[in-house]
Symmetry: C2
Subunit: 344 residues, 2 copies
């Protein structure tokens, strides 16, 4: 990230300084200025220096639009969030923005708010601006239809994936995350494990539930009861816990989200169960607001969304530079152990 001084002095009449202003002050032609600033051509050291100090003095910042016109590159990418920007999109955005900024790219932010019309409108806008690439992201992990066919710029889907397997998608290995959780619970000696999660219509909920069951099967165990599908809320966590404890005996509960897990923790405590001594608890998302505020703090699965955003950006940059990586790229989750599974 190069750091130079800001313009000290605006050119004539408040209008931004142009290369002509610099050329005039340095007493050379505009072509020479361009060469001096970009290190092209062969110039005498004295000339180069004269140009540079003239540019410095005027606070010259080259007009990107003009550069775009001749180079064909905008050094710009669009990020379309198909759902509203939410808790999951933020770390993604940040990671992507970080990686792109380091590559000297600027980011156009577009929030389509789950409206296909807005989505296509933004797409048109971005194409009109000749972005070098597009990152598509959203809240749901369900595969979605490609945003358009045969676009003239590379597209990378992040967090969500495209239904077309030839598109480049970077997704979280949610099943792997669920397996991490189960393995950890087994490692701390639990065997009667239940699963409470979100709505069955949500891809994340079904994928995690299925992986949980299959991992237990691999270990020669069975899930206690069926997976409890409901909502991604604390209230559902509390309610589901009551349902579960009424009919089953468990020594661990793996939850589809930290919010649910927190509700479960409260309900367990209300019935006199101790966490983790009587029941160990694992959440999902590693959302600090929930996992740290929970009593005791929650062991959770972190999807490493910021790193995912960075990966997506890196893949986009690679594609722009002619090294595409089509297909679905899956990234592992990380287990974060806290007091809800191991007593101190």
């Amino acid at each position: 990230m190069p750091t130079r001084k800001l313009p000290e002095k605006v050119g004539n009449s408040g209008r931004p300084t142009t290369i002509s202003d610099v050329a005039q002050l340095a007493g050379v032609s505009i072509g020479t200025v361009s060469k001096a600033l970009n290190g092209r051509g062969s110039l005498r050291e004295e000339t180069r220096h004269r140009v540079l100090s003239a540019a410095e003095q005027l606070g010259f910042l080259p007009n990107k639009a003009a550069m775009t016109l001749s180079s064909g590159r905008t050094y710009t990418v669009g990020m379309i969030t198909t759902d509203t920007i939410g808790r999951f999109s933020i770390p993604l955005l940040m990671g992507a923005e970080d990686a792109l900024g380091a590559g000297e790219m600027s980011v156009f932010l577009c929030d389509a708010r789950d409206d296909p019309i807005r989505e296509q409108y933004y797409l048109r806008t971005l194409l009109g601006r000749r972005v070098d690439g597009i990152i598509v992201t959203g809240r749901r992990t369900q595969a979605r239809p490609p945003i358009a066919a045969d676009l003239p710029v590379p597209v990378v889907y992040a967090f969500i994936s495209s239904a077309d397997p030839r598109d480049c998608s970077v997704v979280v290995d949610e099943a792997g995350g669920a397996r991490l959780a189960v393995d950890h619970l087994l490692a701390v000696g639990r065997s009667r494990i239940a699963h409470i999660t979100g709505p069955e219509r949500h891809h994340s909920a079904t994928v995690r539930a299925a992986a949980t069951e299959s991992r237990l099967t691999e270990a020669g165990l069975e899930l206690v009861g069926a997976p409890l599908f409901g909502e991604w809320s604390e209230a559902w966590g509390r309610q589901a816990t009551k349902i579960l404890l009424g009919t089953h005996d468990v020594d661990a509960i793996f939850c589809g989200s930290d919010q649910i897990a927190r509700g479960v923790a409260d309900a367990l405590q209300a019935t006199g169960r101790r966490v983790p001594d009587d029941v160990a608890l694992v959440g999902f998302d590693n959302w600090d607001v929930m996992s740290l505020a929970c009593q005791p703090p929650l062991t959770s699965i972190d999807m490493e969304l910021e790193a995912l955003g960075r990966t997506a950006a890196d893949l986009l940059l690679a594609t722009i530079n002619g090294e595409p990586s089509p297909g679905r790229h899956s990234r592992p989750c990380r287990l974060v152990v806290r007091d809800s599974t191991v007593s101190r």
Copy 2:
């Protein structure tokens, strides 16, 4: 928001279609194409139609960089979040992006992560891109030094404010929000009111605390104990509640944040106090994750950040169009009543 079809067909050799391609297909000159597409000049209806259908057929999208070069306008604004994008920035971003998008402006997202170097780097980048304006936002409400002096483009500060009173800032009337809370507690018959809030070094905490005390004084009452400054966390809410109840008797607690309030609610319940019958509880932020999950749901103060973002964007657009509104613009908060202050 105009909606037209996406390019069906890319021009020759995958390169985006230019106005020359359209001119060639329509059998006219590029000047004529420009006039036909923009409704300028005088053209025969038949000619205009011929051009339009050629453009449609080729999926022509005018190159914004070229338009920028001749018009001097980029129809682009930069949004710099000086702190990391967080819970408060998101609704702000969304509101601003919404208002700007409706004005056909695209938004460059810049996350400076509380690093002055990054901030100046992004500023330079935005100026190089010749944005039409800049919105500066951040997490802290404390007035901040202007991002730079004498910029060639308009700047609006949103949520945070600039220390220079001539700059245009749009801020939340946090003191007014605190007064709303106190008035509500008085209206539901409470008189022994305490205040638990965040760190004393935080502007928000001190402003809200001061307004709380002064409003009580106006009502002929006094705050119970001194404001309890600590952290913006549930843990502090629980801890502060224990401290408070050890020495004072209260019938209401106004908290500096919903997180604190939730901790307070838990601690109150742990000591057998009922909310709201024994102690009424008001939070701040109206953060649904906290205020709705709390038992009972929290009455809270909503800062209406999305509307604030929209206002900031509108003021920026007005300034760009030559109607500046310098100075500090304060926006009211909204009281959201839930079960933590009125029993059902």
